[in-house]
Symmetry: C3
Subunit: 255 residues, 3 copies
């Protein structure tokens, strides 16, 4: 589910639910959190890379497991968001393919994002009748500027790899061929610096943003209690199942 | 004075004082506020577009009506700024031509700005001996970055349409020919999303910025009580009337 | 040590310790602070330009004077940072050559930065086992965006003049030939505007950032009490003296 390996002082965490395009269920969130905690506690790890196995980075939340009677996860989505906001070592996202929903919003919770040439990113909250999560309502404007973030989130638009870099969502586009090796070369450059100094620098960069980021996550979660299961959300899901365009206009007439 | 029409779920508000290059007097601010309030209350409206009639977006505050004995406006400039800061639906500015003063600063109070190829923008506060308004002292650095905002405001410089996009003031340059139709195509993409989700997303994007934005407007207004009518401001206006370069240096010697 | 001259209403302060590549010792910080205070108090000065004499802007803190028994400076580094955060007139940094450490971080404390074609910038805090200073942990993300700032500070990377502009660290690259004249032409455009209006505009641009900037400087200083003289910092300095790569990994094993 989560593959773990080291390249020198770089810990690589690979989302590995290939058949589900690495979609996150509660168990994968838990595995990621445990992997991150281990990396944080390990003095031999200076930098963490998160990537996906196969053709996708992650397809986002696993909708097929929604509503199933499963034990609640130990950490889950909320635990992963909280840990990344407070994380003590540099984290790199290596976005190797499609990145949907949390595959996009996680980019605002790490330090640096690299995108493979074939990567595509989409956060289709408004198309699903719900709202942004994982602090993206704050981190996207900080990374992309307010107008590009507004367009990306309002229009539920898709970004190419080049769009991601031009709009501040990622630092660099790298070839698909040899993508993870190119990311690891860059991670190694960070890992060669003094590790305690790296941690002090990370803390200084994140401390000024942390309070507002927590407030944004809290506000997003309150909004999600209104939007998840709303008439719009139900219509979006029904339309998806029935392979038709959602009819939000009719809801508006009734509203 | 303000033309109002709908294209699907997009409400278009057109500033229409063509002889005055759509300059704002109190009555036009009031009409804009009333138009925005109606659009906000109308369930059939998902997105609002503000544009200008004819060759100009707006020439800014109408100086020719200054000092005239007219009844104070109901909402005025302050009411328009306050409403935009608190507005509940996505707003697009379609900057179709010259945008002076509030024609520039309003861009920081909407979600997305499109500029026509021939548009030109200028906020000549320092040239007039006054200071930024409408929260632009905060929104311009957020959109443009601190150095570009400092140059734009300090130097009273003019931005071309391409400058606006390259510097973060606008999202896209569109051809003059068919400009408003191209904007409406983009607005329709937003309006096709779930409307309550759009409103939740807008609120999440603006809530973290609102307190600081109100404080910036308040500080700007305090500064304006010092700068409007100051020796520098009077010299700038006299020089403009006499078609000469203002002589701020002499004031400095006296100061 | 600090050369002072006026070009119209522009005060030019030139760091002039050419043999030391204009590295800052306590005396140079004091001279800069005194020069800035005089410029602030002088009604004939509208804009201040800081530049370096010869081939360097500044090589950063003068390590050769560290540990020497000298009288503590009157203002020093902390006084210079504090004054720039509170400064009342537009300040331009004209980065004419290499800019190391404070040569980079000072760019976050001025209004506008111009870089000569041959300029190179580096803030090698993590390479030295220490951490960012002068508010750069806050100003660099604001100027460069969070990911580029993270890479620049984590990797201790070197920016070319073009990198500086593309990444938001500077406004424009100018030819080496005639560099300072080109900067002065731009400074003169600011100095031609109404001087009190310029000061009001500067205050409005800086007031919203000042509290967070002071907090960032304070947090950086606390971190420096941990990192300066740390095992990593001592290893970095020893490696530099012995012209070898620092061995941070061994420290990690012991840690």
């Amino acid at each position: 589910m989560l593959e773990i390996r080291d390249e020198g002082a770089v810990r690589v965490l690979t989302l590995a639910r290939e058949k589900a395009l690495n979609a996150f269920n509660g168990a994968l969130f838990d595995a990621l959190v445990e992997g991150l905690l281990q990396a944080q506690a390990d003095d031999n790890v200076a930098v963490v890379v998160i990537t996906g196995k196969g053709r996708a980075f992650t397809a986002g939340a696993d909708l097929t497991e929604m509503g199933q009677k499963t034990a609640p996860p130990k950490h889950g989505f909320a635990g992963a968001v909280d840990l990344l906001i407070n994380y003590q070592k540099p984290v790199i996202a290596a976005v190797n393919g499609i990145a949907i929903g949390v595959g996009g919003t996680i980019c605002g919770l790490v330090d640096i994002v690299y995108v493979a040439e074939s990567a595509r990113m989409r956060c289709p909250f408004t198309a699903l009748g719900i709202n942004p999560e994982a602090g993206s309502s704050l981190t996207f404007p900080q990374m992309m500027g307010p107008q590009r973030a507004a367009w990306f989130l309002y229009a539920a638009d898709t970004l190419s790899a080049r769009d991601c870099v031009e709009q501040g969502m990622a630092l660099e586009v790298l070839d698909d061929e040899g993508f993870i090796d190119a990311v690891l070369t860059r991670a190694a450059k960070l890992a060669a610096q003094a590790p305690a100094a790296l941690r002090e620098t990370k803390e200084l960069l994140w401390a000024p943003r942390r309070e507002a980021l927590r407030a944004a996550v809290a506000a997003e979660n309150v909004a999600l209690t209104r939007t998840i299961g709303s008439a719009e959300n139900r219509e979006a899901i029904a339309a998806f199942m029935e392979k038709r365009t959602p009819d939000f206009a009719s809801l508006r007439q009734q509203g």
